[in-house]
């Protein structure tokens, strides 16, 4: 398991929920303790040489694992898609990156397609709405799996918001480089969350979650923002 920087430092409860959901699906979970970051922030900023160094380190750490599961659409995209671009001129590293890419999965997709757990034995009584994180949806093409998982949670009602596939305006560095534009985009997302009538906003990416949650708490909204793993793990069961 690669927990991602945000989960590691800001949202460890998501990491715990990820471990629990995986274990529940009968998966043996290992956490290579040397892990740090996938390098996405540098890559997106145009700092390819810096990103390469971190990506190479990532390859070293995770190469031995049978699967790498990531509870984030954008970090999984970095590893699965962008590492191949990063190493396109280096045949040796490219081959290693290709192998790692094939074995890397985003959490919900792994649970459904690899572990074969469309039905998760969990119950959570709430009305939720789902935000399609951009990279999860458009780089990895994942939109059905998380919805399937949520539908299998007892007591959970999924109320789709309008334009669930529209960006929340995070975009990593974009959110601090262009705070006003980012905020304007986010406002639209908040309105759609509000009118879905859901109590909880669910997403599979802590970048989006941190962004949306940050505005929810600033504006004193009563809704919560949660990672999908938190609905699936027994710890999250509040029913």
């Amino acid at each position: 398991m690669c927990v991602t920087c945000l989960v590691d430092q800001f949202f460890p409860e998501v990491g715990i929920a990820t471990v629990n959901s995986l274990r529940k699906a009968g998966v043996d979970v290992d956490f290579p303790s040397d892990q740090t970051c996938c390098g996405q922030i540098a890559f997106n900023g145009g700092f390819q040489s810096e990103a390469k160094k971190i990506a190479e380190r990532f390859l070293d750490i995770f190469e031995g694992e049978s699967y790498v599961v990531v509870p984030s659409g954008s970090c999984a995209s970095m590893i699965k898609v962008y590492y191949l671009e990063l190493f396109q001129d280096d045949p040796v590293l490219l081959e290693r990156a290709q192998k790692l890419s094939e074995r890397t999965h985003e959490l919900s997709e792994f649970l459904v397609n690899v572990a074969g757990h469309q039905n998760i034995d969990a119950s959570y009584h709430a009305k939720v709405t789902y935000h399609d994180a951009c990279h999860l949806l458009r780089e990895l093409g994942i939109s059905d799996e998380p919805r399937e998982l949520m539908k299998s949670v007892e007591g959970l009602e999924l109320s789709e918001m309008q334009d669930s596939d529209r960006c929340c305006g995070f975009g990593g560095l974009f959110s601090v480089k262009y705070p006003e534009i980012s905020k304007a985009i986010l406002e639209e997302k908040l309105r759609n969350i509000e009118s879905s009538g859901a109590d909880i906003l669910v997403a599979n990416d802590c970048g989006c979650l941190m962004h949306i949650r940050g505005a929810m708490s600033r504006q004193g909204m009563k809704q919560e923002a949660m990672h999908i793993a938190q609905l699936l793990s027994p710890d999250a069961d509040r029913s």
Binding site: C5, V7, D8, Q9, F10, F11, P12, E13, G15, I16, V19, V29, D30, F31, S33, D34, Q35, T36, C37, I41, A42, F43, N44, G45, G46, F47, Q48, S49, E50, K53, I54, R57, E85, H135, R138, E139, D165, R166, C167, G169, G172, F174, S175, V176, K177, Y178, P179, E180, I181, S182, K183, A184, I185, L186, H211, R213, G214, A215, S217, R218
Partner: protein, 481 residues
């Protein structure tokens, strides 16, 4: 060349997001375009739509890879049809060619149908300077010509103007009575333009496609002004970017399906005009002289790089603008040059000045929505990333990233290079954050970059313990055992 104001992106975009009227218009019009597009492509189903895009992409790619051959072919076929082909290296040369033709014909008035390349050229200003009256005849272009503004959107240049504003422009320029009735406004414009059509010496059009095999300029329009422009005056000049080439006439059908559906959500536009040269001696009407000006203006810089070459496939449908979360908030003028939105953020820096346009490639969340709608499958996020890479590691004409950012990323890289350094750094931050944290959130963080975040959003405090620590305490034994 049209004035380049890309350096003002930050200022212009923050003004745009705080203009409620503009925000309202953007949401309304963009929403309409997106819905119309979705409706128009539904009949094909995802798979065949995707196949059509793939095919269009490969035709364009082929044409670009063999551009020298096709440009030469266009030169020959159009000459055979009795027309003239000119190649212009830059907008200055392109303007000069138009002015030479106009002077020879002693032209006083030029009517124009919509052409983005002529916007690049700043043709209207060049004509005015030479004492020739240019008149835009596309309704939207006519409105922004009266307002003296650049286009706001590739296919809807005056979408930001309300009925009221249009009425006011007409009152000022045409001395007409105020009205909010759209039909009435159209009639006013129609009457004003009618007179111009019948008295113009030259018609200037753009070109949606230029077919090499037959020497045909294809125009896709809705108002019929394109047909008037290309057939009423004695001289027709078409201006086109060199990338608009399609190899054969049979290729056009596919693009005529893709373009209007992606642009306005129409299955077909009201007028599809094919012009292959001046009128034949047996024709009763049509221009006596036909010129095609193929303009480079930096496109060869895109051509030279196989990745950037992809951007030349663009058929200017505007779909990427409509779906872009950024464009939908900042609108067209913020981008500071002729082409706004995602495709503008890619081509403007290369066609104008990379350093001056440094903010454009970063004005994106890389969400990928543009790539999904593009009818010729341009991977716009990839090209934005390429421009960002150039801003960091390119040559001196490309590097624009500040030393502070370089320092920060360098420091970040050192920190995440070992687990112990990340623990050291975050433990220090945990100690310091107490000062600014309340109930696990930070409302104001006076640090460079981050302060932008906390203006409108709370920032989470670092968790008391990292996941790595929790794993050690909670799970590692179970696993080890």
């Amino acid at each position: 060349m049209a004035e380049v104001k890309t350096a003002k992106f930050k200022k212009a975009s923050s003004q745009a997001v705080s203009d409620p009227k503009l925000q309202n218009t953007l949401e309304h019009v963009m929403g309409h375009f997106i819905e119309a597009r979705a409706g128009a492509i539904e009949e094909f189903g995802d798979e065949s739509w995707d196949q059509m895009r793939e095919r269009a992409s490969s035709i364009k790619k082929h044409a670009l890879e063999n551009l020298d051959y096709y440009l030469d072919l266009i030169d020959r076929t159009i000459q055979k049809n009795g027309g003239h082909v000119h190649f212009a290296k830059d907008t200055q040369e392109a303007n000069r060619i138009v002015l030479d033709i106009a002077k020879k014909a002693e032209a006083k008035r030029v009517i124009k149908s919509k052409s983005m390349v002529s916007e690049e050229m700043g043709l209207n200003k060049a004509l005015e300077k030479a004492g020739i009256e240019p008149v835009e005849t596309d309704l939207g272009e006519y409105i922004i010509q009266l307002a003296d503004e650049p286009p706001f959107h590739i296919i809807a240049p005056a979408m930001h103007k309300t009925k009221q504003e249009v009425s006011e422009l007409f009152q000022d320029w045409l001395r007409t009575a105020p009205t909010q009735d759209i039909k009435q406004l159209c009639i006013i414009a129609r009457d004003a333009l009618r007179e111009k059509f019948s008295t113009a010496d030259i018609g200037v059009s753009g070109a949606n496609f230029v077919v090499a095999e037959t020497g045909t300029v294809v125009l896709v329009t809705n108002e019929g002004n394109g047909r008037m422009t290309t057939s009423t005056p004695k001289i027709h000049i078409a201006v086109s970017g060199i990338e608009k080439v399609l190899p054969a006439i049979e290729d056009v059908g596919l693009f005529l399906r893709l373009l209007p559906r992606s642009a306005t959500g129409q299955r077909i536009t009201s007028y599809n005009t094919f012009v292959s040269g001046p009128k034949f001696s047996t024709d009763e009407d049509g221009p006596e002289e036909f010129h095609l000006i193929m303009v480079d203006n930096g496109r060869l810089n895109l051509m030279r790089d196989p990745e950037f070459r992809e951007a030349l496939k663009c058929i200017r449908c505007g779909a990427c603008l409509n779906t872009c979360p950024i464009y939908r908030k900042v609108g067209g003028h913020s981008y500071g040059w002729v082409y706004p939105g995602p495709i503008g953020a890619v081509i403007t820096p290369v066609l104008t000045n990379i350093k001056q346009s440094k903010d454009l490639p970063y004005a994106s969340t890389l969400c990928g929505a543009c790539r999904d709608v593009c009818p010729v499958k341009i991977d716009i996020p990839k090209l934005l990333l390429k421009l960002r890479h150039m801003a960091v590691e390119g040559d001196s004409s490309q590097r624009s990233v500040s030393w502070i950012e370089r320092l920060m990323i360098g420091q970040w890289r050192k920190t995440v290079s070992t687990r112990s350094s990340i623990e050291r750094a975050t433990n220090l931050a945990r100690f310091l954050q107490v000062v600014v944290t309340k109930k696990g959130i930070i409302r104001n963080l006076p640090l460079p970059l981050i302060s932008g975040w906390t203006k409108s959003r709370d920032f989470p405090a670092l968790a008391p313990k990292s996941f790595a620590q929790l794993w050690q305490e909670k799970f590692s034994e179970e696993t080890d055992g």
